[in-house]
Structures are given as C-alpha cells and as structure tokens.
C-alpha cells in the first residue's frame, strides 16, 4: 500500500480520528504544547545583567526559533517518547482490551492491513506531536523575539528562512527517530491485551536505552540503542550540516521501524484473538 493510498483510505481516516478525536490525547498534546509556551514566557522575562556586553544570550534571543529548539531539547528525553509510547502501546492492545478486535477482524480486515493502518496512524501522530511543539515554539518565539538571523552551533549566522528550514529538518529527523520507537511500541502492543502494560514497557525501553547509552563500558553497543542518535539532531544546526551522525540516526530509525513492524506482523498474524 503506497502512502497516498493509505491517506485516502477510509479506514485510515477512521483510525486517525480514533486518535485525534480522543480527549485524553488532546490533553497529552496540550502538555506537549505547554512546554514551548513556558520557555517563551520565561525567556521573555529574563533580562541580561547590565554591563555584560554583546552576550551570547542576546545573540540567541535575536531569533525566535530558539524557543522551538529549546522546547524540543527539553521534551525529547521524556515527554515526546511518552506521547509516542502512549499511542503506540494502545494501538493493538487497546482494541484487544475493549474486545473490538473481534468485531474488526471478521469485517473482514486482513491483519497485515490492520497493522499497516495502525502503524501509519502512529507515524502521523508522531509527526504531528513533534511539529506541534516546534510550531507553537516558533510562532510564540517569533512574536516575542523577532525574526533576526539564527545563530548556528558553529557560531555562524544563518538568514531567517534558512533557520526555519533547519528547524523543519530537525522535526523531520526526530519524527523518524520517534517513529522507530512507535514501531517498538506497536510490537509490544501485539504481545498483550493490557494497553497500560504496553505503554509503560515501551517508555521503560526508551529510558533503559538512555541509561545504557550513558555507561562508557557499554560503548560497544551504544550505536545499536534506539535512542543513541536522537540528540544528534544538533548536527543539523551546524554550518554546514554535519551529516555523519544524522545518517547513522536515519539508518537506525529505519532499521528499528522495519524490524519491529515485521516482528509485530509475525506475532499478530498468528495470534489467537480470544478477547
């Protein structure tokens, strides 16, 4: 099924509505959107001490995009993975728990098609969550701090629209990374009929991966950890872009997506639906 076909499918739209029509998920998205708002307000109320000269802070705050990027940095360790885990963990286990699978499958819905639709909806939610944080941060940042040039991590300055493009690239990159986590969550979700269990397990895997990534003695496995390349998005803010870790991150996310989506299919197509 091509992406265009998927987006046109009535079933896919129904699945997306199931996620975005739910008040619980609106609350989750509101929390994600609250972080850039808090950052923007806090930064607007910070005045550099007099006599500090043309300082770094003043340089950064000349361009509102920093609000979006700071919000992403703060949400990447917990809030964003939590949101993705919540949706992915609920995807199959939630329907098993309600018993709706026993009505959906005899419609008939082929099990591979169901998983494809579910994974597509998880991916769409992930993209929406990342871009929501960035969009709220960008709009608010630009309103409060203006549209000056953007300071890169290499110390150079980028014109405004190039800065915006960099932020979009960061969002796309992190969306890919988090979709890899979504695939893990989808797989875990096919293992159980308890959505909460699948959600917590997926989040714990993320946290465990962060912890293992901090232990130097385990450096041999670091590059295989799902979260290893996430913070590499900073390389997209260098001038020129440092692609080394970024391409590693894209490859890692693609592998996690393919392997765990495949595992979910293998598990789900042979499973007895007894709920």
């Amino acid at each position: 099924m091509s992406v265009a076909e998927l987006l046109r499918a009535r079933f896919f739209r129904s699945e997306v509505w199931l996620i975005f029509g739910r008040r619980r998920n609106w609350a989750g998205l509101a929390v994600l959107a609250a972080v850039p708002i808090i950052i923007a307000i806090a930064a607007a109320n910070t005045t550099p001490a007099p006599g500090d000269g043309p300082d770094f802070f003043a340089n950064i705050t000349a361009n509102g995009l920093f609000v979006a990027l700071t919000a992403i940095v703060l949400e990447l360790p917990l809030f964003l993975p939590l949101a993705v885990s919540a949706i992915a963990g609920d995807s199959v286990a939630g329907e098993a728990n309600l018993g709706t699978l026993r009505y959906l499958l005899p419609v008939p819905v082929h099990r591979l098609r169901l998983l494809t639709i579910k994974f597509g909806a998880i991916a769409l939610f992930t993209v929406a969550a990342v871009f929501l944080v960035a969009a709220v941060g960008t709009v608010l940042g630009l309103a409060l701090f203006g549209t000056g040039p953007m300071l890169t991590l290499s110390g150079t300055e980028l014109p405004f629209w190039s800065g915006v493009l960099r932020v979009v690239l960061v969002c796309l990159y992190l969306s890919m990374c988090l979709i890899g986590l979504g695939a893990i969550g989808l797989f875990v979700s096919t293992l159980t009929e308890q959505p909460l269990g699948a959600q917590i397990a997926t989040l714990m895997l993320t946290i465990a991966s962060y912890i293992l990534d901090q232990i130097p003695q385990l450096s041999g496995i670091h590059q295989y950890l799902p979260t290893h390349y996430w913070l590499a998005f900073g390389d997209l803010l260098r001038d020129p872009i440092a692609w080394g870790s970024i391409s590693g991150g894209i490859l890692s996310a693609a592998c996690y997506s393919v392997i765990f989506f495949g595992a979910a299919c293998a598990r789900f197509t042979t499973r007895d639906i007894s709920s």
């Binding site: 079933f11 739209r13 129904s14 029509g21 026993r102 499958l105 005899p106 008939p108 042979t270 639906i273």
Partner: protein, 309 residues
C-alpha cells in the same frame, strides 16, 4: 450446499484443555440453526474458529462454500457476526462505532454509509440513541448495537453468539422477529444459545454441544420424533388405572398419588380413555404430554442448561 460446514474442527488451548473436539458442523443454506449447549461447552470457541479469530489445532471448515481462512476476504463480507457480547469504543457514539466498522470494510460503498448506518440503527430501535456515547448505553442497547453491525449490509449468513443476551422480554421478542424476517428473506442464521426455549421457537435445525463435542445435529422435527409422548391420568383409583394401562401394553406405568403416567407408545389416546372408562376407572383428568425437547437435551448433555461446564 451448506452455509457452514466443518470437518474434525478441533481447538486445544495451550493449557491442554480441548475446548472444541473434532466437530463436523453442517448448517444447511437457508436454515435457522440453533447451536445449543450449556455455558462452557465450546460454542463461543467454535464461533471464534468459524470466523477465523483463532486458529484450529486440527480440522478445516468452509463458510458459504469458501475455504477458511484462505478465502476469508471472499466469504466474510457476506457474513454478519456477533461474538461473545458487544464490544465497542466507549467514547464514540453508537453511530460513529458503526461508521468505523463500515470504514474498515473495503467492499462497502462509502457513498451510502450514512443511509446504511441509520437504517441498521433504525432496524434495532437505536436511532434515537444514535448520537449517545456507547459508554452511556445500557446492556440491552449495547446488544442491539452489536446486532446492528450485522445489518450494515445484506448478508447471506449470520453467525450470532447469544444474540438475545441482556435484552428485556420485549427486546428478545423484537430480535426473534427480526431474525425470523431475515431468515424468511433467505439469510441463513446460525445462533448459539443456552436457552432451549429460544431455539425451539425459531429454529429449523439444531446442533447440541457438550464438553466440546457435537453430541447431536439434525432438524428440530427429527429430534422431536425421537422423543416419546406420555399419557397422564388423574383418578380416584390409581391402582385400577395402572392395571388398565398395563393391560393395554403401555410401558413404564408409574403411580404417584392420584396420578398415573405411562409411555403412550403406538396406542391412540382415545382408545386409552375408552378402555379406562370401560374398566369403570373414574377419570378426573387425562393429558397427553407432548415430546419434551428440554428433557432430551438434558439427557444429551447430562446437566441442566444453566449449569456451567
């Protein structure tokens, strides 16, 4: 041709329990097939097997002539099903739940969805509550919604697990009338039940499950013919009445207070009455007790119909 047919269909759970044991179902096209058995006898597991929700340990089956699960995409759109009670998204309305299931059906026409959903809701009497969230539905309304799912499009076969569960007497009557009218229009109906009375009223065929085995399967008439009617005489001289019945050659003559019963066998009831009167037995009451399916099912399954197996 049989609408549902299985050969040696078996399901052994990982616990080792054999829930369905080599059953050979034959649900004739156009029949109303009552799938009877006490709770826990394997009816729901059989229905899950038929719909492809669980895989058989052994055996095979076809739905509407299509081998399952290989040709599920061809067979299942023509099959409406209700398995083990209603299950829907609690925060969606009844109407939105139906729309979701219809959206999942690749073969359904998206242009007619509103009409079909409302027609299905109307047919089960839920149109007034269509916009209510499912979580606010009563048990009976939930059951009605589950039946509405099967009516989203014309079906050739309905497989319904305890369709009147949770319904009030009025609702039960409505569902029975609905099924009768669907059957009259040519839909094959297979419905499971642990209530004999429900099956007896609308079914042409029955299959009886007991401990995972299909212990009987035939038309209702054939089953009824296997049962034997009895005569019951109320009299002031039970001993004399018993003597007359014995001399007529009736079997199993038993006396209980002022009541004497015996198997009628081939004897004509009017002859029996004449013989009693001829022997000067004062007859106060005379009844022919018709074939009792309930007793037959109890003898087949070895327990009452509300006992968990």
């Amino acid at each position: 041709m049989n609408a549902v047919s299985s050969e040696g269909l078996t399901k052994r759970f990982r616990s080792g329990q054999v829930a369905v044991n080599a059953i050979d179902l034959a649900v004739p096209t156009g029949s109303v097939y009552g799938f009877l058995g006490p709770n826990g006898s394997g009816k729901t597991t059989t229905i899950r097997l038929l719909l492809g929700l669980i895989r058989p340990t052994a055996g095979s089956h076809t739905l509407l002539g299509e081998p399952m699960p290989a040709k599920a995409a061809r067979a299942l759109p023509r099959v409406g099903s209700l398995v083990e009670g209603p299950a829907f998204h609690p925060y969606l309305s009844g109407r939105d739940n139906l729309r979701r299931l219809d959206a999942a059906d690749r073969t359904a026409d998206p242009r007619t969805v509103d009409k079909r959903v409302d027609a299905a809701l109307d047919r089960v009497g839920l149109l007034a509550a269509a916009r209510k969230r499912y979580r606010a539905y009563s048990l009976g309304m939930r059951q009605r919604l589950a039946i509405a799912v099967t009516l989203l499009r014309p079906r050739e076969l309905l497989i319904l697990d305890e369709p009147t569960n949770g319904l009030d007497p009025q609702g039960t009557r409505e569902v029975r009338a609905l099924l009768t009218s669907l059957a009259a229009s040519g839909t094959t109906v297979m419905l499971s039940s642990h209530l004999l009375s429900e099956v007896e009223q609308i079914c042409s065929h029955v299959g009886v499950m007991h401990l995972g085995r299909l212990v009987a399967q035939s038309t209702v008439e054939a089953l009824r013919a296997q049962t034997v009617p009895r005569v019951q005489v109320r009299t002031g001289h039970p001993a004399a009445a018993a003597g007359t019945l014995t001399s007529l050659g009736l079997a199993e003559v038993t006396v209980d207070g002022d009541t004497v019963t015996a198997l009628l066998g081939g004897a004509a009831p009017e002859k029996v009455v004449a013989a009693l009167v001829g022997d000067d037995v004062p007859v106060r009451g005379f009844v022919v007790l018709e074939a009792d399916l309930e007793e037959m099912f109890v003898s087949l399954t070895g327990e009452g119909f509300d006992v968990s197996g």
